[in-house]
Subunit: 255 residues, 2 copies
DNA sequence: AGAAGGACCAGTGGTCCGTA
DNA sequence: AGAAGGACCAGTGGTCCGTA
């Protein structure tokens, strides 16, 4: 059997807010034999200001009978959204109702751990074994209590995580620069494309190869927009080098 | 641009019937620039006994506007099915309204060529590039005129092709034995599982690794049943070796 | 009966857009 | 305004079962 390392609590080091008021998920009795069904997990959930709820819940990590995902335990709280991200420097803890970028990147590491769990279960059972973070993995993460992980969010920032993996220094510099300039997360996110396209250009414009060469990145699908930017920039580079020596920046508008 | 090598005519060497009366597909002007749309292809189609039809058709290989796939050219013939396979020895041409196993395996090679075409187009356009024979490839094959290729058929016999790739000698012997015994295709197909499970057992029971190690096989999804048989046989082997030295054949019934 | 393949279906990758 | 994520949708892998 495998032990599920539920590290949702590591929020602590990454976001002040996260641990003060938000979805702190602890799983007691975290061992769980993949080959057997059943078992129990206990979810402690603190929402809103002070409410602390304890619920016993059937272990549903293996999928199957799933009832509505409304209030757990019959209480009545609005489902809280995650606090929005702000641009933070490396090591900086976000203050107020915000999450920092170290926390964002930590979510990608968590997904990787959930994928590894799903892979181990699949191997154990002789089933198809995913190589990427799929819907199945997001579903597993949710059932494991990591309700703060969801597909749209993770897909939205994949290329930011890619830069973090492939060129930590460049990623850190970009964060400092955008924080200093007081830019919002959206602007920082946009800015992450350009250095990635430059990296791809040095690898024959093959973004897939760039992703696959890095073990932590290989499990993520290449985002459509990054793929398109690399394609456009490649054509651009080919055209400008074959026509004249003058720089051709017509694709720059896309960033 | 790439040249589509349309080798549907190579039926000739593989099946007497196939070339006498059946879907002989010739593409004139087979060059086609992947980067551009449009263009024309000409399909010459001989169906039934003697009818020969010529039709001009918009090139639809790139997908897009697809009208109904009924009669081409407005004629009225029942859509002929492929002749059923019979167990043939290596090199043997099937007689009568039958297709032989060399022809079956040839279809897998054709699918590989269609996949390569699809991959080249995707790379050219900077789109996601399939590594396996996907729905997209089957659609492409159909539009290229290879209407005798379809997904259910190809998936049905994948493991037979796998044996052919991985152990040609064993595959050939099996064909000779089953032909001699007068067995039908279904029986031969069933018999192909066992030697494959034996091969997997020598590779740590990892069928996926076995498929991926062979370049022509790696493009095919591992069939569910083969995966299950390997899993069962692995558990079986583990159980019998850990309990006693006596052979445990309780999974044999699955073959 | 044995076999070929149209067509269906549950669950996927992808992301929009109603929400806060 | 900027951002998080429920929920939708087109096209997938998988194969059943009405057909010949």
């Amino acid at each position: 059997g495998d032990t599920i390392a539920m590290d949702a609590l590591s929020h602590e080091e990454l976001s002040e807010e996260a641990v003060q008021q938000e979805k702190e998920v602890a799983v007691s009795g975290g061992t769980w034999d993949a080959a057997v069904g059943g078992g129990k997990k206990k979810i402690r959930r603190r929402t809103g200001k002070k409410k602390v709820i304890e619920v016993d819940q059937e272990n549903e990590l293996e999928g199957g009978d799933d009832d509505e995902n409304g209030d757990i335990g019959g209480g009545c709280y609005e489902r809280q959204r995650e606090h929005p991200f702000i641009v933070t420097e490396p090591g900086e803890v976000a203050r107020g109702k915000k999450n920092g970028l170290d926390y964002l990147f930590h979510l990608y590491e968590q997904c990787r751990e959930f994928l590894i769990q799903v892979q181990n279960i699949a191997k154990e059972r002789g089933e198809k074994c995913p190589t990427k973070v799929t819907n199945q993995v997001f579903r597993y993460a949710k059932k494991a209590g990591a309700s703060y992980i969801n597909k749209p969010k993770m897909r939205h920032y994949v290329h930011c995580y890619a830069l973090h993996c492939l060129d930590g220094d460049a990623s850190n510099e970009l964060r400092r620069a955008f924080k200093e300039r007081g830019e919002n997360v959206g602007a920082w996110r946009q800015a992450c494309y350009k250095p990635l396209v430059a990296i791809a250009s040095h690898q024959g414009w093959d973004v897939d190869a760039v992703f696959n060469a890095h073990p932590r990145l290989a499990i993520w699908y290449v985002p459509t927009k990054l793929r398109q930017l690399c394609h456009l920039e490649r054509n651009n580079a080919t055209a400008s080098s074959s026509v004249s020596g003058v720089a051709n920046n017509s694709a720059t508008c896309l960033y």
